[in-house]
């Protein structure tokens, strides 16, 4: 798993050591209550190699990619990038796609913009 931690750090470009544990990311996060692990925990857990737990978490699909954590972080840690990297680490594994094409028809409604589907595919599968 330590290899995976390194990969996550590398592809995210995030240095978790820059974090001063102020919690502003989690204070800014609109999806806080939907996530089992919160942005500041992502930073801490990656630093401490607890990647498996993060990869199993449902929180990685709840992140809105709204970049509030990234914008407001006083230390430029940019947790959003870390969360995306963990999600990628999951969906890049075989059979770990979070969204399957056959699910789509059931999710559609008349007004749903293409953008919603495309972005979900981009984010949730490889």
């Amino acid at each position: 798993m330590s290899d995976m931690t390194e990969i996550v750090k590398r592809i995210s470009g995030v240095n978790p050591r820059k974090c001063m544990k102020c919690g502003k990311c989690s204070a800014a996060c609109p999806a806080y209550d939907e996530m089992d692990y919160h942005p500041h925990q992502f930073v801490d857990m990656v630093e401490n190699g607890r990647l498996e737990e993060l990869m199993d978490s449902k929180g990685i699909y709840m992140c809105l990619s709204c970049f509030a954590c990234l914008e407001r972080c006083p230390r430029s840690v940019e947790p959003a990038k870390l969360i995306e990297a963990v999600r990628l680490a999951v969906v890049r594994q075989q059979d770990k796609n979070h969204l399957k094409p056959e699910q789509i028809p059931g999710l559609l409604d008349a007004e749903l913009p293409q953008q919603a589907i495309t972005s979900a595919f981009r984010k949730y599968r490889k």
Binding site: P30, E84, P113, Q115, S119
Partner: protein, 263 residues
């Protein structure tokens, strides 16, 4: 003035009001938006991981195409703007990504971020000017109290998008003022509407949209404008109908008298 224009997938279908009124208004303002030939989807989300190259190529193609035409590239959809602008930053600043993307594309002239990417609103503010826009308004929207909804993608990360102050943006308020209406400033205007989770967690998306609309309404807004089809969908379909939501281009078309003429 002529700009290259990237409409994006949604603007050709569910979000076509954003596109139609956008083009018509620019025409009325004496600006031509020339659609890029054979554009492809921008990719819808910007891939943040450093090793994601292939997912950025369609944006690079659009950028190269604009460069080859020798024009600035105008975008309208917030998501397209976000993706294309950030990919452009990568091409200009990140040697790793630039080298690999150029290797993939095998261009005659390698691309290194030369194209200037402008959002439609930036064209209004920086190229035309809100003062000039004000002079062109035929039907001022006097008395209307309008809340601008920015969402996330236009503003953040501010280091790359350089669009406006990410915490206290004013471009859409100035835009509303130029059209003769009264902008309503409310703090949730730069908070996420939750749109991205609409497939995953609809109740949550609805809750977020409700918070945005409540805040706007409680601060006195009677209607909302946005630049993003996904926000539009979420605020409208999941937001409980508390306030009417429009694309900002539709509002512009109204004020310029374009909408009436076409209707």
């Amino acid at each position: 003035m002529t700009y290259s224009y990237f409409p994006g997938c949604t603007l050709k279908t569910k979000g076509k009001d954003l596109d139609i009124w956008g083009r018509a208004s620019m025409e009325a303002l004496g600006v031509t938006l020339e659609e890029l030939p054979q554009w492809q989807c921008c990719g819808a989300v910007y891939p943040q991981a450093k090793d994601e190259i292939a997912t950025k190529l369609s944006s690079v193609r659009a950028l190269v195409s604009a460069r080859d035409q020798g024009r600035d590239l105008v975008t309208l959809c917030s998501a397209c703007h976000h993706v294309i602008k950030r990919v452009n930053c990568d091409m200009a600043q990140d040697e790793y990504i630039r080298t690999r993307a150029n290797n993939y594309l095998q261009l005659e002239t390698p691309y290194a971020g030369e194209t200037k990417v402008l959002h439609y609103l930036e064209v209004l503010r920086d190229e035309i000017g809100f003062d000039k826009l004000k002079e062109q308004v035929k039907r001022p929207l006097a008395g209307r109290k309008i809340g601008a909804y920015y969402g996330c993608l236009l503003l953040r990360p501010s280091k790359e998008l350089k669009f406006d102050d990410p915490e206290n943006p004013t471009i859409m308020e100035d835009f509303i003022r130029a059209l003769g209406a009264e902008p309503v400033v409310y703090a949730m205007r730069n908070e996420c509407c939750g749109g991205y989770t609409t497939l995953e967690n609809k109740p949550y998306a609805a809750k977020q949209a409700g918070k945005v609309l409540d805040n706007a309404a409680n601060c006195g807004a009677a209607e909302i404008i946005t630049a993003c089809p996904l926000c539009m969908y979420n605020l409208k379909e999941n937001g409980g109908g508390r306030l009417p939501v429009k694309y900002f281009t539709e509002l512009l078309a109204e004020a310029l008298g374009v909408k009436e003429a076409e209707a």
